[in-house]
C-alpha cells in the first residue's frame, strides 16, 4: 500500500461532500492499527495505510446506511462493499470508495506466536519483505511472508475492485499466489471421523462472544441475529459444544455464496478458532457448483437468490 499523501489529498478533496470517511490510524502501539473516522480535515493527518491495516472497514457501512460515507478499501475489503451493494444492503449513491492496492496485511497472532508478547511496541518497519519490530531496545526481525494473514497467501484480488478514487498503480502480480490454502489441503486429507472430532474440539473452545459475527461485514442482522433470539429459537444460550457448533453452522450457512473471505471473523476470534477453514471450504462448493465468487461483480446475483431450470453442475438425482 503506497500513496498515503495522494490518499490524504483525495480524502481532503472529497470530505466536504461527506459525513465521514473511514480509514485507519495507529492504535495503542506501533504494531496495532485501529479504524479512524474522519469527520474534520485535521483528522486526515492521523491516517495511515500499510500492512498493519487489517480491519475490513466495510463492516461499518450497513450501520451508516443513510449517511454519506467515504471508505478506504483494500482489494478484499472492496469485495465486501460489492457484496453489500449486490444485496442492496447499502446504497452506492451514498458511498465514495478510495481504493488501494494491497501487498498483504499482518496477522498479529502469528507475530505473537513467533516472538511472544513484548508489551509496548515502539516501532515497526517494513522493508523488502522483512518486518522489524522494536520493543524496548530490542529489534525483532521477521519474514513478512511468515506472518501475513492466511488470506494474503492465496489473494487473487490485491487491487480494489470497485472505487471512485484509486490510489497508486494497480498491481498486476499474479505469481507467487498459492492456488489453495495450505490448511485446506491438509484438512482435506483428514478422515471424516477426524474432522468431526477436530471441530468438536474446536467448538468446545468457542466462548460464544460473537466477535466473529460482529466483525463480519456480511452479518447485517446484528440485533436480530437468530443466534440470540427466542423466536426463532435455534440454540440455547448455554455454552456447550453442540450449541456452539450450531451457532457456527448458522454463521456459515448464512454466508453461503456471500462470504468474501476477508478473514475478519478469524482475526477477531479471541480463541483462535480456524473459522476461515469452514468458509473457504463452503466457498469451494459454491465455486464448484455455481462457478461463482462473492463480491466480484456488482451486477452479479448471489447464487442462492436465483436458480436455473437446468443446473449446469448439479447432477440429476439418481433415485
Amino acid at each position: 500500500m503506497t500513496g498515503l499523501e495522494e490518499l490524504k489529498t483525495k480524502i481532503l478533496g472529497a470530505l466536504p461532500e461527506l459525513d465521514v470517511v473511514i480509514g485507519w490510524e495507529q492504535g495503542y502501539d506501533a504494531l496495532n492499527a485501529t479504524p479512524l473516522f474522519i469527520r474534520k480535515p485535521e483528522d486526515v493527518e492521523r491516517l495511515i495505510i500499510g500492512p498493519l491495516c487489517a480491519h475490513n472497514l466495510a463492516t461499518y457501512l450497513p450501520g451508516l446506511k443513510d449517511k454519506k460515507v467515504g471508505i478506504v478499501v483494500k482489494g478484499c475489503d472492496s469485495r465486501a462493499v460489492i457484496e453489500l451493494l449486490q444485496e442492496k444492503l447499502i446504497n452506492k449513491d451514498n458511498i465514495t470508495i478510495f481504493g488501494l492496492k494491497c501487498d498483504g496485511v499482518v496477522n498479529l497472532n502469528k507475530i505473537r506466536k513467533k516472538i511472544g508478547d513484548l508489551g509496548q511496541i515502539r516501532k515497526v518497519v517494513f522493508d523488502s519483505g522483512i518486518i522489524t519490530i522494536t520493543a524496548g531496545e530490542t529489534d525483532h526481525q521477521l519474514k513478512f511472508s511468515e506472518v501475513r494473514m492466511d488470506k494474503c497467501d492465496t489473494c487473487k484480488y490485491p487491487n480494489a475492485l470497485l472505487f471512485d478514487h484509486f490510489i497508486g498503480t494497480p498491481d498486476d502480480r499474479q505469481n507467487g499466489i498459492e492456488p489453495e490454502h495450505i490448511s485446506d489441503a491438509e484438512f482435506e486429507k483428514m478422515s471424516l471421523e477426524d474432522r468431526f472430532a477436530f471441530w468438536k474440539q474446536e467448538m468446545s473452545r468457542c466462548v460464544r462472544c460473537y466477535a466473529c459475527r460482529n466483525a463480519c461485514p456480511m452479518c447485517v442482522c446484528r440485533d436480530h441475529c437468530v443466534a440470540v433470539t427466542r423466536d426463532p429459537h435455534w440454540i440455547s444460550q448455554e455454552n456447550d459444544t453442540a450449541d456452539n457448533w450450531m451457532f457456527q453452522m448458522i454463521h456459515v450457512m448464512h454466508l453461503t455464496g456471500r462470504c468474501v473471505e476477508c478473514g475478519e471473523c478469524e482475526r477477531a476470534c479471541p480463541m483462535d478458532i480456524p473459522l476461515m477453514l469452514l468458509r473457504r471450504q463452503m466457498n469451494k462448493g459454491v465455486r464448484d457448483v455455481f462457478e461463482y465468487e462473492a463480491g466480484i461483480d456488482p451486477q452479479g446475483k448471489p447464487p442462492l437468490l436465483t436458480f436455473k431450470v437446468e443446473e449446469d453442475n448439479i447432477p440429476e438425482r439418481e433415485w
Binding site: 437468530v226 426463532p232 453442540a242
Partner: protein, 658 residues
Amino acid sequence: MRIGVFVCHCGSNIAGTVDCEKVAAAAKDFPDVVYSDDTMYACSEPGQQGIIEAVKEHKLTGVVVASCSPRMHEPTFRRAVERAGLNKYMFEMANIREHVSWVGKDKELNTNKAIDLVMIAAEKLRRDKPLISKKFDINKRVLIIGGGVAGIQAALDCADGGLEVVLVEKTTSIGGKMAKLDKTFPTVDCSSCVLGPKMVDVAQNPNITLHTYSEIEEVGGYVGNFEIKVKKKATFVDWEKCTGCGLCMEKCPSKKSFDYFNEGIGTTTAINIPFPQAIPKKAKIDADFCRKFTKGKCGVCAKICPTKAIDFEMKDEIITENVGAIITATGYDLFDFKKYAEYGAGKYPDVITSMQYERLMSASGPTTGHIKRPSDGKEPKNIVFIQCVGSRDKSVNRPYCSGFCCMYTAKQAILTKDHIPDSQSYVFYMDIRSPGKSYDEFVRRGIEEYGTEYIRGRVAMVYPVGDKLIVRGADTLAGSQVEVEADLVVLAVGAESAVGAPQLAETLRISYDTYGFYMESHPKLKPVETNTAGVYLAGACQGPKDIPASVGQGSAAAAKVLALFSKDQLESDPQTALVNAARCIGCYKCVETCPFGAIKEIEDRFGNAKAEVIETICQGCGLCSVTCPQSAIQLQHFTDNQILSEVKALCPSMMEKS
C-alpha cells in the same frame, strides 16, 4: 395450552398394526396434553361429536388427531374443531395410517413410530396461533380453455348460470374431436347433428366471448382474480369483415394444402374454412401452403373477397382477460400411428387411423361418406380393425388403456356394414372393454347382427401383396396364427395428452402425470378440481374419456365454478407468510425470490424500508422464510419455531445413545 389427543383406530386399518390404546396413553405424558383417548372412527359423526364434547368438557384449546393423512381428512377435522368453538387452525394431524400402519407390519415399531408422530404434532400445535382468513372480491368471469365438447358444455352451463365466459380455442373452430366423428356409440346418432346446435348456442350466447385460433400465453394472479394473456394468432383474414361466404376457397389456386380437419385424407385450399358447420365460420390462411407466403405472389383471395377481409400483414395479438376461475378442457390427441412400423403405418396408404376412417365415413368428409380406400379409391370389402395401437403397450410408453377405442371400433365395424353391405369386418382385440350403459350390448350386436369377426390377439405385421394387405395376427383362443387378406386396415389409435399439455400445465401451475394428463385433486373425491385453487378440469385433458364422461365433467366443472362464484367474496388461506417489521431490515431478498410477487416493498412511518406480504396472493410456500437471514418473515403455521420444535422433539440434543 390444553391439548386433546384423539387416536383413531380406523377400524382395523390402523389398529391392526398399531396399538392405539398405547399411543393414546403415551400422549398423556406430552407437554400441555390434558386429554388423550382412542376412538374407532374419528372422522365419523360420533367420532367428531366425541372430539367436540371433549373440547368442551376438558376446556381444550387445541386438538391433535392421529389418523389418516391430513390430505384426506384435515378439512373434516378442522370443521369439527370449529364446531367445537375453537379456531380451526388450532389443530394438527398425525398421519399414522398411510405413513405407519399401512407401510409397516411390526406392531411394536409401528406403535413407537405413531407415538413419535403424535408427539411432533403436539409440539407443533403448542406453537400454533389462531388464524383468521382474509376476504377478497371475486371477479365472476370464467375462462374456459378448449372448445371441444367438454369445454362447450362447461361454457354453456356457466353462461346459463349467468356467468361471463371467455372461451379460448386453439384451432379456428370450436367442436374439437367430436366434430370430426361421423356417428357416436352406442346410439349411432349423427355426431355433428348432436354437437352442431350446441356449437351454435355458444356463438349466439351473449355471455360467451369466443377467442378461436388463440392460445394462453400467461396466467397471473390467483383464485378470484386471474389475469390471463391470450395470444390471438394471425389468421390473415379480418374476421370482423369475413362473412364466411367461401368464395376465397373456390378461387384459391393452392389446392393441395394439408387438410387438418380431415386428418390429411384429401386436401384443402390454403385459405379455408375447416368445415361447413365451423363456429365461427371464418376463413384462415395456412401460411405454409399459401402462395403469397411461400412464393411471394398470388393474392387471388384478396382480389375476389367481397368484403376485403384479407390482410397479409396481420400479426399475432396479445389481449388480456381478467377472470376469477379457469376450466381446462384441452382434450387429447391421438397416438402417432407411424410408431407402429410393423403395420406399415404411414407407409402403406391403405393403413389408416380410426379418425381418418371417421372422416372417410362422414357425409361431410372428403368422400362425402362413401368409403373409398386412399390408394386407389376402390370400395374395400375386407376391413381389418387393429385395436390397442398406442394403448396398453409398454414398448411405446403407452401402458394405459385409452378406454374408448373398443367402443368406437365396434361402432365403425357396424357402420362399415351399413355403408357396404357385402363387406366383412375383422377386429383384432386383446380384451373388449365396454363397461357403460348399453355399451356391451352394442358390441354384442356388432358381432351377432352385423357379423363383425372378433379375433382375440394382436397383429404382428401387415404387408402388401398385390393390391391386398396381408394382416398376420394371432388368434390366441384358437391357439394359432391367422392371416387376413384385407383391402383396408384401420388402426384404433389410442389417446395421448394433447400437444403442449405440459407447457400449459406449467403456465397454469397445475400438475400432470408422466403421460402429460392433468392431475385431479383427488382421484375419487375431487375429480374435476386441481391442486391450484380456482383451476378446474373437464374432459380428456385429465385422462382418456368418451363423450358422455367429458360432457359430464364439463357440467361438473361448471357447477364447481358456479358454487365458487355463489359468494361475493372468497376467503384466502391464512397460512401465509407474515413479516415481523421490527426485525425486517428491508433487504428485499424475499421479494426477489417470491414466485408469486406476493411481497411488496413499503416504508414504515419512519421511512424505513420494510417488506409486506399481500395475504391474498401469498400461496404459503415458505420460500421467503428461508431466504430471510434474520427470520423476519415467517410462514404462519410452518414457522421456524414450529419446524424446529418438531426437529428438536425427534432429535433432542442431549440424548445419549447407548
